[in-house]
């Protein structure tokens, strides 16, 4: 038999030798395929780390330059909302990890359940973030669209120990809020993309796509979701916490 000819027809090629349906033909076996998918996902996450790092560095440098403005800007955020969101996101990372475990155990019902929990928590995070953004809009803290320096040139009742900023430094709170909206906005965009992918994954998982041994997609989505969690683990202290006492 001409082996070259059979290899060009996937249906026949699969019949020719024994291996699971989901292993692509250019892989030696399922393990190699899994390792390759995992490696590719990590390369993608590294580019994401570099992407967010640029913003973190900008934050570091500008915070040193316009220190009083960054402290005053940070005092306007709600610590309780940031803490609640951190807890929500950590919970969602846990439910996602349990989803990967359920896929590993080939338990379709458990997988769907954990993914739905992750979806609910992810959406909850976005709702709380949206509430905060709405509040910042109401308080005229959105640079370029709706911004006023009055909060920073007068003594804030909630922070009576804060000295009012001179006008030129008060203007620089716009730099703080620009970085705040860019960083939380890009983080939220990643969450929205994650939530949309989750919707598709839940439908596929419900139909049993990931509980027959092939679960690279679930594993890689888990990596993405945990990465987004890590970004928030750094955003939370930097934006909300470290300027509390200055």
């Amino acid at each position: 038999m001409d082996s070259q000819a059979t290899a060009t027809l996937p249906e026949q090629a699969h019949a020719a030798h024994e291996h699971p349906e989901y292993v692509r033909h250019h892989f030696a076996n399922a393990t190699q395929q899994r390792e390759t998918a995992n490696f590719g996902m990590w390369l993608y996450l590294l580019t994401e780390i570099m992407f967010f790092s640029g913003l973190f560095i900008a934050y570091l440098i500008y915070r040193n330059w316009y220190y009083p403005a960054f402290v005053a800007g940070s005092h306007q955020l709600k610590i309780w909302a940031g803490t609640l969101n951190t807890v929500v996101l950590i919970c969602s990372s846990f439910t996602m990890a349990m989803g990967v475990y359920a896929a590993e155990m080939r338990n379709r019902k458990a997988l769907v359940r954990w993914l739905i929990l992750t979806l609910i928590l992810g959406t909850g995070f976005l709702c709380i973030k949206g509430y905060e953004w709405h509040d910042e809009w109401e308080n005229h803290h959105v640079p370029g669209l709706n911004f006023s320096t009055t909060t920073f040139t007068h003594v804030d009742a909630r922070y009576p120990q804060d000295k009012p900023l001179p006008q030129d430094m008060a203007e620089k709170t716009q730099t703080y809020f620009s970085l705040y909206f860019t960083m939380t906005g890009l983080h939220a965009l990643h969450m929205i993309v994650g939530v949309l992918i989750l919707l598709v994954l839940i439908a596929q998982a419900y139909n049993g796509a990931y509980t027959t041994g092939h679960m690279n997609t679930i594993e890689n989505f888990g990596l993405y979701w945990h990465f987004v969690d890590i970004v928030w683990i750094f955003l939370f202290p930097l934006l909300y916490l470290i300027s509390r006492h200055q």
Binding site: A28, E35, I57, H226, I242, H245
Partner: protein, 102 residues
């Protein structure tokens, strides 16, 4: 055909996920508590140290790096090394120009 280098796949048990989850919540409470203490410059140091510990826990256990192949570990390490180099180069550039003169 030669077999690819083999790496045994580990299934991480739920109790590990549970323990990591609990630890992450404790560290979140700790970092919020620490932010209400008057520590001067150490407020930022403590907050960042806790963030690094939390992200390491997520990377090692939730993202399975502790159980991954050497290739994956090396890839991640190379990424962090590149990150450090870029941060150092950016900061030396800013600090050697007009630092404190804005």
């Amino acid at each position: 055909m030669s077999e690819p280098t083999h790496h045994t796949h580990t299934v991480v048990p739920p109790r590990v996920y549970g323990a990591v989850f609990g630890t992450l919540l404790c560290f979140t409470a700790l970092t919020v508590f620490a932010s209400y203490l008057e520590l001067g410059v150490f407020n930022a140091v403590v907050a960042l140290a806790i963030a690094v510990i939390k992200s390491l826990l997520v990377i090692l256990f939730f993202m399975h790096i502790r159980y991954s192949s050497k290739l994956t570990k090396l890839t991640l390490a190379a990424g962090f090394f590149t990150f450090i180099v870029l941060v150092a180069m950016t900061l030396t550039d800013y600090m050697s120009r007009a630092w404190g003169m804005w």
